[in-house]
């Protein structure tokens, strides 16, 4: 029969096509994972590597023969400062803190950054540093004979514990980390209670009326609104509308010499709280819905009121899930950049944010600032800041997982 011959002849090619496409489907999955790997590798690649340092003024010309600047005494350093610093800069630094009161390390920093002025002439990535060391050494000796080749870890403990400065070599993320933590605390403080309360009402109390259905649909729609729109909302309402409240002037708490005019940690935190509120509500609703009805009924049957049932039975039984959902939302808020730029994050802060009424910057904002600079050094600084940001998000998630497991152990019923 020719029909079955056709079938048999076709079968092989049909199976071959099946295998080909199966491979394609697998490849597209692999591609997504490869991208994630490339993303992480790039960040690590940029966060470490060789730099070529060139001093604007030769260190050896400053100190007497045979001595090194690093070990020089305070008198030597003072002499160098008296001689090398311009009178105007000298007065400015003297006003900041008199030279007589400064420590040796402090004086050394001034000599280094005000007079010697080390500059980064060239930077290399980690992979170049590991595999092309010979080429780097050759290039350096040819292009920068005075230069010094050192392996620099852009992400370091010093980077983590230093405040923001204008120079890529000395800058740190402490200001941004403090800003991020303060902002996120405000966000958690407002969004957790309101979000969980709203979820309880929608799941346990709300009847199936038109108004309640509208509230539910509205929450789904809010979850899809682009984050930058929340930024505009925060700008108009928290920064401008409630300026007296968010700048702290209503409480007489204006920071000395700082006019933040509503562009404060408080405004940023509240904006992010509104942003993640729909996500928290939706997640908490799912958690509450997963609690079995028999638990509620048995509680009501022994005479508990509705609220007693919710507080003593429904919430403890669902709290681990509620927490997981809420933490997911918060880690989204930590990485959020656009709404905070709109609300008015400061591009440069000379003082670390100290309270809710301070001007603010956050880690993603700094990453954005540094990435958009043209100089290569800032690219490495941005990579280091990304590592700090990802570490912060990871530790938050780890904390949530540990807490959740602990809560699960205490749980009386599943």
């Amino acid at each position: 029969m020719s029909g079955s011959e056709d079938f048999a002849a076709n079968l092989a090619s049909r199976h071959a096509r099946g295998d080909r496409w199966r491979l394609m489907f697998m490849l597209s999955t692999m591609l997504a994972i490869v991208f994630l790997g490339a993303l992480i590798l790039t960040i690590v690649d940029d966060a470490f590597g060789y730099v070529v340092m060139v001093d604007e003024v030769d260190q050896r010309s400053l100190v007497p023969d045979g001595q090194r600047l690093e070990g020089a005494g305070a008198e030597t350093l003072r002499a160098i400062i008296d001689e090398g610093l311009s009178p105007r800069r000298y007065r400015a630094l003297e006003r900041e803190k008199p030279f007589d009161e400064r420590s040796g390390a402090d004086l050394y920093d001034i000599v280094l950054y005000e007079i010697v002025k080390p500059q980064v002439a060239e930077t290399y990535t980690l992979f170049e540093s590991l595999f092309e060391r010979k080429r780097i050494v050759e290039e350096t000796t040819r292009a920068h004979p005075d230069g010094e080749l050192i392996f620099r870890s852009w992400a370091s403990m010093r980077f983590l514990s230093t405040s923001l400065t204008a120079r890529p070599l000395t800058t740190g993320v402490l200001t941004a980390v403090k800003g991020s933590l303060l902002t996120i605390s405000i966000t958690i403080l407002f969004s957790f209670p309101i979000g969980i309360a709203a979820a309880i009402w929608l799941e346990e109390y709300a009847s199936d009326s038109r108004l309640n259905r509208f509230i539910q649909v509205n929450i789904y729609n809010l979850a899809g609104v682009p984050s930058i729109i929340y930024g505009m909302l925060g700008l108009a309402i928290f920064v401008r509308g409630l300026e007296g409240f968010t700048s702290g002037s209503a409480f007489g708490a204006s920071a000395a010499g700082e006019v933040a005019n509503g562009r404060t940690v408080l405004s940023a935190g509240l904006t992010l709280a509104l942003l993640i509120l729909p996500v928290i509500i939706i997640n908490a609703q799912e958690a509450i819905r997963a609690v079995s009805g028999s638990l509620r009924q048995s509680s009501l049957a022994v005479g508990a009121t509705k609220w007693q049932t919710i507080w003593h039975h429904v919430l403890p039984a669902s709290f681990d899930r509620i927490l997981t959902g809420a933490v997911l939302a918060v880690s989204r808020a930590i990485g959020e950049t656009a709404p905070l730029v709109v609300v008015g994050a400061s591009t440069f802060l000379t003082q670390d944010p100290s309270g809710v009424f301070s001007k603010f910057t956050t880690l993603p904002i700094q990453i954005y600032q540094w990435t958009s600079r043209p100089q290569a050094e800032f690219r490495h600084v941005a990579a280091a800041a990304i590592i700090v940001l990802l570490a912060l998000m990871l530790s938050l998630n780890a904390f949530a997982i540990i807490t959740r497991n602990r809560l699960r152990k205490q749980k009386r019923f599943g």
Binding site: R17, S28, A32, P226, T337
Partner: protein
């Protein structure tokens, strides 16, 4: 035997026992607080509408709607407010993103739903979720420092600008990929088993079953995923702000720099901007267009999802 007639409750002997509803003021207070918290979401929506509405209406008193929607140049300094260049750039980056996200996302979904074993699925899905958890500013950094140089090596340094919509769009596609793939997978898994079994019984191969039976059956779900992904791409900000370029330009060339709606809002509001200026108000007019577009896309997507759920359940 005589039944024992003793009072169970002390109230009973006093004659004040009632099984009627007792008034519990604190329960009512708690309920009122809960209602208020649920109302915060309504207030947020109202806030968005009022804020965008009032600032935009002040803007539209000076610029006609027609000029705004059809003008081909956006230069606030000389009073030209035509949104077309911004919309055009947004469409270009979003379409580039969807060209990456839809085929890849559908491929991933078919693989996970039809081919992968339970164990592989359980390991791969969290990895994909990590992709959507990475902050968008990190994607922007990646687009600018890796993808753009790679594209410039590929197409030649001169033919492609440092800031271009292609690079931003491609990276945005990867950002949206997990969303599209998980929605597509939900749609594929919702197709009843009987359809698969019927196809196998007719002698179809796995590929033929997947592509000719399951995917068409889940088409509405896939369409919903596409629309929601598009809405996410339109509203995405940091990638385009970093990699697509500054300065609104009307160009159809994806290798050139152009500024999207979101990119423009971020750049202008990040600088020093005085309230009550046309610059400031124009941002709200752009935001209004953005809000209406994404809201419409989200609603269409949700109504499609609702419809196909009803068909199969």
């Amino acid at each position: 035997m005589k039944p024992v007639q003793t009072a169970m409750y002390p109230e009973e002997t006093r004659g004040v026992l009632s099984f009627g509803k007792r008034s519990r003021p604190h329960e009512n207070i708690i309920q009122a607080v809960l209602v208020f918290c649920a109302a915060v979401s309504i207030l947020t929506t109202l806030g968005i509408i009022v804020v965008l509405g009032t600032e935009s209406s002040a803007f539209f008193r000076e610029v006609s709607l027609r000029e705004f929607l059809t003008g081909r140049s956006w230069q606030p300094s000389i009073g030209e407010f035509g949104i077309l260049p911004l919309v055009n750039a947004t469409l270009m980056t979003s379409l580039a993103a969807m060209l990456v996200a839809l085929p890849l996302g559908l491929g991933v979904a078919v693989y996970l739903a039809e081919y992968a074993s339970e164990r592989v699925r359980e390991t791969l899905k969290p990895i994909l979720e990590v992709l959507s958890g990475v902050p968008t500013v990190v994607y922007g950094y990646f687009a600018l420092t890796v993808v753009t140089p790679a594209l410039r090596n590929l197409f030649g340094q001169d033919s492609i600008e440092v800031y271009n919509t292609l690079s931003a769009g491609l990276v945005m596609g990867v950002l949206i990929l997990p969303l599209v793939s998980s929605m597509c997978e939900d749609a594929l898994s919702a197709v009843p088993r009987s359809l698969r079994e019927a196809a196998y019984a007719m002698g179809a191969t796995k590929l033929e079953t997947s592509v000719m039976i399951i995917v068409p059956a889940a088409f509405s779900g896939i369409a919903a995923a596409f629309i929601l992904g598009l809405s996410r791409a339109v509203g995405e900000t940091m990638i385009v702000a970093l990699a697509a370029g500054a300065g609104p330009k009307l160009t159809l060339n994806p290798l050139k720099a152009a500024e999207t709606m979101t990119g423009h809002i971020v750049r202008i509001s990040g600088g020093d901007i005085s309230y009550d200026s046309m610059d400031y108000r124009s941002l709200f007019a752009i935001a209004l267009v953005l809000f209406v577009t994404t809201l419409a896309l989200n609603m269409v997507s949700r109504s499609i999802v609702k419809k196909y759920r009803e068909v199969y359940e």
